[in-house]
Amino acid sequence: MVGALALNLGMPCLVFSSLTRLNVSLTAFAEMVGAYAVVMLCFLFVGLAAIRSLKVPAHTYLPIFTSSNTGNMGLPLCLFAFGSEGLAFGICIFILSSIYSFTVGWSIYAGRLAADVLYNNPLIYAVALALIFMLSDTSPPDWLANTTELISGLAIPLMLVSLGVAIADLRVRRTGKIVIISFIKLVTGFIVGYAVGDIWGMEGAARGVLIIGAAMPIAVHNYMFAQRFDRNSDDTAGMIVISTILSLATLPLLMYLAL
């Protein structure tokens, strides 16, 4: 219920409020989204290669590679590392990654094309509304700006709390394969983020946020999806826990290289 409150009220407001308040220029938004799209494309190839060589089913393991925890772990990191500018960049990444997860990721778990999740997701409406203000170069009226800013305060604390609770509730069974997959995910994430940032010629906060966004552990919503479609949810849980714990250990190093 805390997660639902964060996802349905907090996040849409945070997305809207950050995009409009922080004056993210359309070009910066497009650049961030573009660079992260390249990152995710690389993840897709890494994922397919890993699945082939480890001989595991794609419906469980492919989304593991492509969706990173850019929300409840990535956003606070971007905020604390680069201030509100970093948060705005982080949100661009989060938007792309969550739209991807709730459409393509969901469809992979479901084993069918699911377009209904697109219009069932309040996040999409928040992005659309923010884009209208960004495109027309106007600021939203006071009442809307104040309201969304207020509600956006819910998002990050509640997500962190629900992440903690979700991890505490998870049970890990088999190790071995899932440790290897978690490890591949984290290492390739960092390398891909670093490489794309370099090739793209990014600098400062944008570069740091791209690397952070790429190097995040496996997203927690994969567990909810895996459970919903009965796809080895215990393994998924294990990988989320392991990659999150591993990333806690590597975070200081990551932050050092990203800053």
Binding site: M1, L9, T147, L150, G153, L154
Partner: protein
């Protein structure tokens, strides 16, 4: 016209959040009020208090003045409420707490914040703290018939206020990482409480509407009157004056319902007072803001 938009900018967040809470309950989505309350009281509120006091620069004089004004307001509320209850021949334990305590936290804090910025929020917290101390001790004591000092001293909010005031007086700032963390966690308090208020408004079992409407209106009128009188008597100015008046004029506190429920006092009428006074204050609040700003 500009003033109207400005006022709308102040009250809209409150309406929208409460509205979202009502909507949330209406569509039957799960809402664990107990969990939210405990997150807010144990984690969010102490963090909000610490972070807010770090952001403002208040003199001990200003804080003391508002604190004294708050105590005077509560004293006046108590005397006037007892008089009214006696006059109407009602029982004191059922009605007194709901008449005395205004909704200073979930409604007073955001209104003061959006009207007066961080300074307003900090002063509103001073007012709220004395209200909380009163609610926890006197309010519970009236409803239960016993005084619970132990409970008050265990409340994380009280610890946070003490710490915040000490830091403010000694001019100490928290390390950046700690400030960032408490600031982030404090952000959930106001929206979470407003949404919870919306949910509970829909869940309240309202009864005895005539009497509860009358008492609800009395709470609002008394609040405005006492607020203005005390602000005048203390010669308050600027943010301090506005905060004392706004906080005094808030509708019946939702915590009164919890007390009534806990001790089996007239819960349906207390619920009626909460709903009626909150509804009316949605309409009167913009005018009150116009008068104090």
């Amino acid at each position: 016209m500009d003033t109207i938009f400005q006022l709308f900018g102040i009250v809209a967040p409150v309406f929208v959040c409460v509205g979202l809470g009502v909507l949330w309950a209406k569509i039957g989505a799960a809402f664990d009020s107990k969990l939210i309350t405990s997150l807010v009281y144990n984690i969010g509120a102490p963090c909000l208090i610490l972070a807010t006091f770090q952001k403002v620069d208040l003199s001990p004089g200003a804080m003391g003045e508002v604190a004294l004004a708050t105590i005077s307001c509560y004293a006046a509320f108590t005397i006037l409420s007892i008089l009214l209850i006696r006059l109407l021949g009602l029982e004191i334990p059922s009605y007194l707490p709901s008449l005395i305590f205004p909704l200073t936290a979930s409604m007073g804090l955001p209104v003061c914040y959006f009207a007066l910025g961080d300074e307003g929020l900090a002063l509103a917290i001073v007012y709220f703290t004395f209200g909380a101390i009163g609610t926890f001790t006197a309010g519970a004591a009236i409803a239960a018939g016993t005084l619970s000092f132990r409970r008050l001293m265990r409340a994380p909010v009280v610890h946070a206020v003490l710490l915040a005031v000490v830091l403010q007086l000694t001019d100490t700032s928290l390390p950046k990482w700690l400030f960032n963390s408490v600031n982030l966690l404090g952000g959930m308090v106001i929206p979470a409480q407003l949404v919870a208020l919306g949910v509970s408004l829909l869940e309240l079992r309202v009864g005895g509407l005539v009497r509860s409407s009358l008492l609800g209106v009395f709470r609002l009128v008394m609040g405005v009157g006492v607020g203005f009188a005390v602000a005048e008597a203390f010669d308050l100015e600027g943010a301090a004056r506005a905060v004392v008046i706004l906080q005094s004029a808030m509708p019946v506190a939702v915590s009164s319902y919890l007390f009534a429920q806990q001790y089996n006092r007239k819960t349906d009428e207390v619920a009626g007072m909460i709903v009626v006074s909150t509804g009316i204050s949605f309409i009167t609040l913009p005018f009150l803001l116009l008068a104090v700003l």
